[in-house]
Symmetry: C2
Subunit: 247 residues, 2 copies
């Protein structure tokens, strides 16, 4: 999978390319990253990439021309048979979630456009952007951290990137529930014991306990997720047990 | 403001400390970051920080003991009069948003705990974690990128960190609406003109156009945000105009 990244701060991406899953996927030639800096396409001696908004108001905007040229260069650089889709990340985008990560992971290539300042000239979006995605309802300084999070979430889902065991773990969450509590050695720690069922060796019982905890926690913390998910009869029963045992 | 960060990958944080808003806030001594690596507290020659989950299943968990010692060291290192709150970031947490960033920005200090692998021993949460926050409903490889995004969003809101002009811009979004389109020079670009109103010099008209666009876009893209926000009579009228003009 190829990522073209249009950014004024390519060095920031070391955070994902020099560590962990994305770094390994790059080393193993499963993932390729290419950066294009709009500053390369600034037309003046000061290499200006920003300017004040028409109509006044605070802050600066990214100029259309250097940005558009950078997007074109990023598309061309990826050398794909089909033109890659151009994703602009901004607070105005569709909220990114695991379903989006799944879908991204099935693409051949993506060009990500990172904004800075108060955003970019709207005409760039009209002309060159295919999709707009947001990381969430908060404001960060630019698109770089959001793009890194989206790439990390995406790369983990490319077949062969995580080890077999970890990908199995991956599968198990995508049921729209929060994860259950987990415990590791030692059995006794700071006066607290591992729940007995986890030491029982009874795998059916362990599976049921975990699902019940996941249902119970999702009900406690994220009832919005439960509303979006059908519960089976057995799951409803487990959740009722969980609620009863609280009292 | 002081951030204590418990992480196996402190180098990743260069992405925010060597650039932009957080980097500047550190240089200006408005923000301080301290890292504690749980590996420093691993008890064996292999410096083991992870182990298999009780009850079986894929993946590894972070061991309680090195993590708990690292959290204690991070709390002690910040030298605060009141003990700093310990924030564990995980997919099970409360979804982070701009209101959370606002609230974080008013604190003296925060200790962030970054998980890796499939998560951490639940007893660490019971013993040492005060709050659990999530960046959103997607899975990334660890807490580091989420913590960087939360710190960036928080630091931008500390008084004196953004220039006066940028903070004014900041204020103007927190009305629970998406931003309006923005344009900068040139007036004509690739056959597309800047909307005339923005060149009119009529500031009342410009303000009204921007609010109408913000309302219209929020209605189109994020109706969930409109449901959470009261519209004034005038705003309702603007939104109706926007909708009518689409047809
Ligand atoms: C209820 C949410 C409404 C938020 C409206 C915020 C409008 C902010 N406009 C100015 C601005 C634009 C872009 C940025 C830089 N942010 C990103 O490029 C960004 C890219 S993806 C993303 N996801 C969440 N939050 C983000 O800030 C981002 C910062 C300030
Ligand atoms: C509907 C969402 C439910 C998601 C349930 C996912 C359960 C995943 N459990 C294993 C796992 C734990 C922790 C990680 C590392 N992630 C973070 O530390 C993290 C820290 S904050 C955060 N926000 C969103 N997504 C995230 O992955 C995170 C990766 C896999």
């Amino acid at each position: 999978m190829k990522f073209g990244i249009v950014t004024l701060f390519p060095e920031m991406f070391g955070a994902i390319t020099e560590h962990g899953v994305t770094g390994r996927a790059i080393k193993n030639q499963i993932v390729q990253m290419q950066y294009v800096n709009p500053r390369e396409f600034a037309g003046d001696v000061h290499r200006t990439v920003d300017s004040r908004p028409y109509g006044g108001g605070p802050g600066m905007l990214m100029l259309a021309n250097p940005l558009l040229q950078a997007i074109d260069a990023a598309k061309a650089g990826l050398k794909c048979s089909d033109a890659p889709r151009v994703v602009y990340v901004s607070p105005q985008g569709k909220p990114f979630d695991q379903a989006a990560a799944q879908e991204f992971s099935q693409r051949q290539a993506i060009v990500f456009v990172c904004g800075r300042y108060e955003g970019i000239d709207e005409r760039v979006i009209d002309i060159a952007v295919d999709e707009e995605w947001s990381l969430g309802d908060f404001v960060v300084s630019g698109g770089e951290l959001p793009v890194m999070a989206m790439i990390d979430a995406t790369v983990r889902l490319i077949p062969g990137v995580l080890g077999h065991k970890d990908s199995a773990a991956e599968d198990s969450f995508f049921q729209g529930l929060l994860d259950c509590p987990h415990y590791t050695r030692p059995e006794h720690f700071a006066g607290r014991d591992v729940p007995e069922v986890l030491l029982s060796g009874n795998h059916a019982l362990i599976k049921r306990w975990r699902l019940k905890q996941a249902l119970g926690r999702t009900w406690q913390r994220r009832p919005d997720l439960l509303e979006r998910r059908e519960l089976s009869k057995d799951e409803r029963k487990m959740l009722e047990e969980f609620i009863q045992e609280l009292a």
